[in-house]
């Protein structure tokens, strides 16, 4: 089942008056349960594309259909609402809230959806248990390793059962063993819970383990 579709997507940045064509006419389709990796050299437009698909940025032209609705015409606050309800994000630098513990960071996601405190604590702890990070519950980000932080970040991204999780180079700051473990975790979530993942990466390991690969070059799909 298709959940995301891009048509003739273009993104032109303005860099000191010089137009930069970061995405040049991309068509793609993502189905429920896909595990897609967007690969390509630096500057090929991976982050730009991911931002467009994640409703964080608007294309210069072209259309994006999310669950059959055109999101390119939506207002900022509507996009924010879509991200809140339907999308999860994982960042290269983990980006947990530094003053909150692992458990609170995960709860925070649910707080944004106004889930009552008791329910969110229970749900967060259950999911942490499932992902084997329960012992991190009361640790602050600066007390955790990069790999541990990224696991918490993955938990945070999936706890609200999003339709799609988008991750821009999630393993770039991790050593290859830790990266491998993290990938296993996401693969498990993908197969167990049928969560849809879209990554960008130029990590060979990530690319090898992709179920669907999109290779970008100069803002265009190569394969």
């Amino acid at each position: 089942m298709e959940i995301l579709r891009a048509e003739k997507l273009e993104k032109i940045y303005e860099d000191n008056g010089v137009p930069v064509h970061a995405v040049r006419g991309i068509d793609l389709k993502i189905n429920k349960g896909d595990y897609t990796v967007i690969a390509g050299p630096s500057g090929s437009g991976k982050t730009t594309l991911l931002n467009l698909l994640g409703a964080l940025d608007k294309p210069t032209s072209g259309k994006i259909f999310f669950e059959n609705e055109d999101i390119t015409t939506k207002t900022k606050s509507e996009l924010s609402q879509i991200r809140l309800n339907k999308l999860g994000f994982i960042f290269q630098a983990y980006n947990l809230i530094p003053v909150l513990t692992a458990l609170e960071n995960i709860e925070f996601s649910m707080m944004l959806l106004n889930i009552p405190e008791k329910e969110r604590k229970e749900k967060a702890l259950n999911l942490m248990d499932e992902l084997g990070i329960k012992e991190l519950a009361n640790k602050r980000p600066n007390e955790m390793s990069g790999g541990q932080q990224q696991r918490v970040a993955v938990t945070r991204a999936i706890v609200n059962n999003p339709s799609i999780v988008l991750a821009d180079e999630p393993t770039a700051n991790l050593d290859s063993e830790t990266a491998g473990n993290l990938l296993s975790l996401m693969e498990k979530m993908n197969s167990d819970k049928n969560i849809t993942f879209i990554f960008s990466s130029h990590d060979q390991q990530v690319i090898e383990r992709a179920k669907k690969l999109i290779i970008l070059k100069d803002g265009k799909i190569q394969n």
């Binding site: 931002n51 994640g54 964080l56 940025d57 606050s77 924010s80 609402q81 879509i82 991200r83 809140l84 309800n85 999308l87 994000f89 960042f91 980006n95 809230i97 530094p98 003053v99 909150l100 609170e104 709860e107 925070f108 996601s109 707080m111 944004l112 405190e117």
Partner: protein
């Protein structure tokens, strides 16, 4: 959870938050001190005046207050006395013969206000008896006179020394009499002590040839706050021939300075508020700029702008509340001992005494000002956070996430 997050965010940069907090605490404590001090000074000025000889309400023949001449005797002394006796609000009253005259000793003489009083009744409406520093209080004896300490010095007389008082009588001749100094008084006001003498009313009446007549009724009422009401009531009963004046009419300068003070307190609040608001704007802007990445992530997660805005304002609000509470405690801890011991201004006492205050000032806090202070700082903190919070929600998520 937002409260918890806001609280922890405040303590991320301990030093910066402490600086703001300390400045709020100092501002608050300074406001409390300043308010207590000025208010205390004002109240003291007022109560000194009231208890020296102004009392709460005075009754004269119309025009007396502007022209204190002996001709302005009360039209009907008995009528006034009757009305005062019948009024339940009037607690104590007494009558006074008042005129301007001259007091001479063997070596010198000086212009004076001559008060002819009923010693027993006067004692209840003024502090003259307790102001005696040498000798005794007035009796009804014919030769008794009380004079101020400064006047005694000027005339170079002591207890038992002979003085001569002279004043105009209503028919234009001069009445005079000889006295022996019975007592010397010293009040908060050196001006008063330089220019006032007391003799018994009876003696004054004889000397001035106005038997059974008087010039003033002065009174203390039960409820000080009802002074306007009592005044109006008396005026109504007495009619146009009389003037009924409250301490407010009699001390316009003090009342005026109390009004001015309220306004200056407002300006003082404003100045401290302005100083604090820039500190808060600056702190909150710094703290927002340091967290641009974090806000980007929150926005990506779909946090509503209104919520983000609220979170930032909440941080400032908490700083304001904590600062207010600590400032209040510090301010009151400073205030309480001072309000008991007073602040000694002996060094400047000469100046203050002629100003009618006294050398030791006891700070008094006014509830109204205290309440407005309690609201002021949290309000200012929130106001100071509005712009930084606005800047935060105007960020573009993509820009914010990638901001370095």
């Amino acid at each position: 959870m937002l409260w918890k997050l806001a609280w922890r965010n405040i303590w991320r940069n301990k030093r910066r938050s402490l600086i703001v907090l300390v400045s709020i605490v100092i501002g608050m404590a300074a406001l409390i001190f300043f308010d207590g001090f000025s208010n205390g000074m004002m109240q003291q000025m007022l109560s000194n005046q009231i208890s020296s000889n102004i009392s709460h309400i005075q009754i004269h023949k119309k025009g007396f207050n502007d022209n204190k001449i002996i001709k302005n005797i009360l039209p009907d002394r008995q009528k006034v006395e009757q009305i005062l006796k019948e009024n339940a609000q009037v607690k104590f009253f007494s009558e006074r013969v008042i005129t301007f005259g001259l007091l001479s000793s063997a070596s010198s003489s000086s212009g004076i206000y001559l008060y002819g009083i009923k010693p027993g009744a006067e004692e209840k409406i003024s502090k003259i008896k307790t102001s005696i520093v040498e000798g005794n209080y007035l009796s009804d004896a014919k030769r008794d006179i009380l004079i101020g300490k400064k006047l005694a010095e000027k005339l170079n007389v002591g207890l038992g020394d002979k003085v001569v008082a002279m004043a105009n009588t209503p028919d234009g001749s001069i009445g005079s009499d000889v006295f022996r100094v019975t007592g010397i008084f010293e009040t908060f006001s050196s001006e008063f002590d330089r220019s006032t003498i007391y003799i018994s009313e009876q003696t004054a009446q004889n000397m001035l040839g106005i038997d059974n007549e008087t010039l003033e009724f002065a009174m203390i009422i039960e409820d000080f706050k009802k002074v306007d009401e009592v005044k109006a009531n008396l005026q109504l009963k007495l009619g146009d021939e009389y003037e009924v004046l409250s301490y407010k009419d009699l001390l316009p300068m003090i009342i005026f300075s109390m009004d001015i003070y309220q306004e200056s307190m407002f300006i003082f609040n404003l100045i401290i508020g302005l100083a604090l608001i820039f500190g808060i704007i600056n702190t909150m802007l710094m703290s927002v700029f340091e967290r641009i990445n974090e806000f980007g992530v929150l926005m990506a997660m779909g946090m509503k702008n209104s919520r983000l805005f609220f979170m930032i304002v909440l941080e400032a609000f908490i700083i304001g509340i904590v600062g207010t509470i600590v400032g209040l405690i510090v301010g009151i801890l400073i205030h309480i001992p001072l309000s008991h011991s007073g602040i000694d201004f002996s060094l400047f006492a000469e100046g203050l005494e002629s100003f009618g205050v006294g050398a030791i000032i006891y700070p008094i806090l006014s509830l109204g000002n205290l309440i407005s202070m309690i609201f002021l700082i949290p309000f200012i903190s929130v106001a100071g956070a509005l712009y930084p919070a606005y800047r935060a929600i105007k960020l573009e998520p993509v820009y914010a996430i990638n901001y370095v």
